[in-house]
């Protein structure tokens, strides 16, 4: 078998393992608490460290390290920030102690002894955009302004209105959302002053652990191992070792002792990144039959010290005449980071709201409106089919409110209104050359597949075993998957939904190469030509008539004492990119309390070839839960006048919990393409769909997330008074 031939995936029932519901290989370790995360590492002589966050948005800070060092058990304290802090909650110092209790007391003592000269600061866009606002960045508070123009939208609006069309003018805003990883950012640096170290990090790229720490420890790259066996969530916030990695290594170097530095929950809320907020003002027109002809938008990306993420409008839909301006508005708050489809949920929220508002203004069916305004051609048709399916599954065609929102709110004898909403998504996905896979087989038949990639909970460890098992006709448990170490072959960072499409082709490439080598071994042993032999279930090799065969164990027994290894690299032909999706949400709005309950969500996506149906469904459902949480609950709250963070904990920063989870249905297109990846796309349209469903139910258009009961009640009151 020549491995220079193009490889292809088997499809459907031709697979024994792939595409089925494959149980997570590390499920038992996670379910029994034996899976070790970076937070759980306890090397001997360990020191526990803790950050001290700056309590104000910006200040000249005098740090009295002695205040912490005076606390019994505290062994070291270091400055972290410069003399001037730049954002609310910026770590100003770190305290290391023999116990977490002493570290906490030391950090409290140091915080209490901070001398702060508060500096003028901005914590929201209104403050930052005032003419006399203090400068957040050297380039001013509004940067990177860009305008894209296509056609003449003003003229198009005029023409559309003259022809009986409708105009919508609105402002849509979304708050800053936190990743809220359950395992906070941090690492355990296993270093005792010698020539080697192991960095146990909670990070989205194993090999990023070698980016900084060896230098900080004064060690050679080759003498430092990065280790990420398990990690408690990343969602885009855990690229690079961060300030926590830098400081943990600094302390370890100073002390010659292992250091455990994980952010406490409050610091995590202040300084571990976020999904940028956004505010967009739009004017858009549609013809009387629902064609959107013009869209003028002006948006502020609210990424704190960073630039924010926002792809601009229109999002997915096609509009002939467009003018779109985006700019970054800076505040003295933590910079945004990538978060599950950066920018897309923000854009989706405004765009889908606009589509519905224009549909209602023109009396157009919400599904027909979308079908009409999605792009022409193949991919537009994919979205149209997905929408159709989502509509059918959510009960749209039996729903009464298809081209006008419910007016139930106006009659005070109704207590509940039911509505349906939709949204669509687009994402890239796909893979790239990055993973170096090695498979090795010993004479006893033990097969190990190894690559340094990491498993964020997406199931990549399971994938490593499954792709290899499939190729040999083995069960998943017959292959030992080794991942999460820089001592293994390189893997890519998990970002942009690229892990599976980068990893799986390299795994298959390695397996195909080993198969070819094993067929040669079997041919020699059986006195057959290699072409006459193939693999069968259980890993046996046999002639097509079964007259000659070797079991897996017999086959392995033919190997030399060195066994056999095969290396795999990425095969472009096994992957693809371009992910499309449509989601629907059905909600119940309590007309007395304003509370929104999501009853059902439906997701229809294409994701190329699905390698693990169970993990893929979990990913999509999880993304929908996050979108629901974004729609209804999540919001960073800072008192603008005082610069005081109001909700840096899970008591007041609300996440969706078990009582808020709707019925969920997930459908994947029968997609003939290769592997793409499904982490991000399903996180995009859910919030927009929920907000649209609320409008559909009761006529209240909440243009500002989260959709809290007060906003719904105010909207109802306005409707009743109108």
């Amino acid at each position: 078998m020549s491995t220079s031939e193009k490889l292809t995936w088997k499809r459907g029932d031709a697979n024994r393992v792939l595409g089925k519901n494959i149980k997570r290989v590390d499920g038992p370790a996670k379910a029994t608490g034996t899976a070790l995360y970076g937070h759980d590492m306890r090397p001997a002589n360990l020191v526990f460290a803790r950050f001290v966050p700056c309590p104000v948005p910006s200040a000249e800070v005098t740090v009295d390290l002695q205040a912490a060092l005076a606390v019994p058990g505290v062994v070291d304290a270091v400055r972290v920030s410069g003399d001037k802090t730049l954002f609310l909650g910026e770590p100003v110092a770190a305290v290391a102690a023999e116990t977490p209790e002493a570290a906490r007391e030391g950090a409290a003592a140091l915080l209490a002894a901070l001398k702060l000269v508060e500096l003028p600061a901005c914590v929201d866009s209104a403050q930052a955009l005032k003419p006399d606002a203090p400068n957040v960045s050297r380039r001013g508070n509004a940067t990177r302004e860009r305008t894209k123009t296509d056609g003449d939208p003003e003229a198009a609006i005029e023409a559309t209105l003259a022809d009986g069309g409708a105009l919508v003018e609105a402002r849509y805003t979304v708050p800053v959302q936190h990743h809220a990883c359950l395992e906070t950012h941090g690492m355990t640096v296993e270093y005792s002053g010698g020539e080697t170290a192991i960095i146990h990090g909670s990070i989205q790229g194993t090999f990023s652990l070698l980016d900084g720490p060896p230098e900080a420890l004064g060690l050679k790259d080759a003498d430092v191992e990065g280790n990420v066996q398990h990690m408690g969530g990343g969602f885009g916030s855990k690229f690079g070792v961060g300030v926590e990695g830098r400081v943990a290594c600094e302390l370890a170097k100073r002390l010659g002792r292992p250091v455990h530095l994980f952010m406490d929950r409050e610091t995590e809320f202040h300084a571990a990144g976020n999904r940028s907020g956004n505010e967009v003002t739009v004017r858009a027109a549609a013809t009387k039959d629902g064609r959107i002809t013009a869209l003028i938008s002006d948006s502020n990306k609210l990424g704190g010290l960073s630039g924010g993420s926002y792809p601009g409008l229109p999002y997915v839909y096609e509009v002939a005449a467009v003018k779109g301006t985006t700019r970054s508005v800076h505040t003295n708050t933590d910079g945004n980071r990538a978060m599950r489809a950066p920018g897309h949920p923000q854009a989706s929220f405004g765009m889908e709201a606009l589509v519905d508002e224009l549909a209602y203004a023109t009396g157009t069916d919400l599904i027909e409106m979308r079908k009409l305004n999605l792009p022409e051609g193949e991919w537009g048709d994919v979205w149209r089919q997905q929408l159709e399916r989502a509509a059918k599954e959510i009960g749209w065609f039996e729903h009464e409110l298809r081209s006008a929102p419910g007016s139930a709110a106006l009659s005070l004898d109704r207590e509940e209104a039911i509505g349906i909403g939709f949204g669509v998504s687009v994402w890239g996905g796909g893979g790239y050359k990055s993973n170096e896979v090695q498979i090795s087989l010993d004479r006893k038949g033990s097969l190990v597949a190894a690559v340094g990639t990491q498993d964020l909970g997406t199931g990549s460890r399971t994938l490593v075993a499954a792709v290899v098992a499939e190729e040999f006709g083995l069960e998943v448990d017959d292959v030992a998957a080794r991942i999460g170490s820089t001592k293994l072959g390189r893997g890519n960072m998990s970002g942009g939904s690229t892990t599976t499409a980068s990893l799986a082709p390299a795994l298959k490439d390695a397996a195909v190469k080993m198969k070819a080598a094993l067929i040669d071994v079997a041919a020699a042993a059986l006195g057959e030509k290699p072409e006459a032999l193939s693999f069968f279930a259980g890993g046996s090799v046999a002639t097509s008539d079964g007259s000659k065969s070797l079991s897996w164990t017999e086959l392995a027994g033919q190997l030399s004492a060195a066994g056999l290894t095969a290396n795999g690299t990425w095969r472009e032909e096994l992957q693809a990119s371009g992910a499309h999706g449509a989601q629907a949400a059905k909600v119940s709005v309590d007309l007395v309390t304003g509370r929104v309950r999501v009853l059902e969500m439906v997701a229809c996506h294409d994701a190329g070839l699905i390698l693990n149906a169970l993990a893929a469904k979990s990913q999509v459902q999880g993304a929908m839960v996050q979108a629901l949480s974004y729609a209804l609950f999540e919001e960073r709250l800072i008192d603008a006048d005082l610069g005081l963070r109001l909700n840096p904990n899970f008591e007041t920063y609300k996440l969706a919990g078990s009582l808020q989870i709707p019925t969920m249905k997930v459908f994947f297109d029968d997609d003939p393409r290769g592997v793409i990846g499904i982490g991000e796309p399903p996180a995009i349209p859910g919030a927009a769909a929920i907000a649209n469903a609320v409008h559909n139910a009761c006529g209240v258009r909440v243009r500002d997330l989260p959709l809290t009961p007060d906003k719904v009640l105010m909207g109802l009151e306005e409707l009743r008074n109108a």
């Binding site: 149980k23 029994t32 007391e105 003592a109 990743h179 929950r265 909970g457 997406t458 996440l655």
Partner: protein, 219 residues
């Protein structure tokens, strides 16, 4: 819902914060101005009393015995040591299956069973846990010999990153022991104090329902 019992003593919450010597910033219904003043006052109060002589922080380690998963384990703790810190840090070898996530009783990741009742280990003082029967995730099964609920979590993919999993399993174990015929609403209520950021809830419900024994005539 099944209430999470923080400790046996309803007053122990404030006592814990006092003993821990940590800064507690109470916002609640206070105005932000008030909150800011309170935060500053608290910061300063800690400065004057937190670590100076005459500190109200009770110090010193003491040896206690904790009965964990049927075995008595000796551990050195301070008065301020939470049960979670005792488990994860001070016991040798440490029991790190119980996770530290919020350290404030808001997320359920550190749920353990105290005399069969779910409790947040981060909100329970180790000293208060002495004399009680404690159960942690490590006692529920091993990878080779999982409890039916643990096995069901694996079967239904009731976990992604897995950081919340121990807490969910402990909450649901208690609920299913109290009512083996629990229905979905009851199971949802039982884990309503547990947060999962990966959004694994639907699979968690499936996993728990699969091991619930329906009453005759139901389902």
């Amino acid at each position: 819902m099944t209430g999470k019992r923080d400790t046996k003593d309803p007053g122990s919450l404030s006592r814990r914060d006092f003993l821990r010597g940590g800064a507690l910033v109470g916002i609640g219904a206070a105005t932000a101005q008030h909150a800011r003043a309170a935060a500053n006052a608290n910061r300063q109060a800690t400065a004057t009393s937190g670590s100076a002589a005459g500190s109200p922080v009770l110090r010193g380690r003491t040896r206690i015995e904790l009965e964990i998963n049927g075995t008595k384990r000796a551990v050195q703790v301070e008065p301020r040591t939470s049960l979670l810190e005792a488990l994860r840090v001070h016991i040798t070898p440490p029991l790190t299956g119980t996770k530290l996530v919020c350290d404030g009783g808001n997320c359920g990741a550190c749920t353990v069973l105290i005399d069969g009742e779910p409790a947040a280990a981060c909100m329970t003082l180790a000293l208060d846990a002495a004399g009680h029967k404690l159960r942690t995730i490590e006692g529920e099964g091993t990878p080779a010999d999982m409890s039916p609920l643990q096995a069901s979590f694996c079967e239904h993919d009731g976990m992604m990153c897995g950081f919340c999993t121990s807490g969910f399993i402990m909450s649901l174990t208690a609920a299913l022991e109290a009512n083996p015929a629990a229905n979905e609403d009851e199971l949802r209520a039982a884990c309503s104090g547990n947060l999962c950021r990966c959004g694994t809830y639907p699979q968690v419900f499936e996993a728990a329902l699969a091991v619930a024994q329906p009453k005759r005539g139901e389902r």
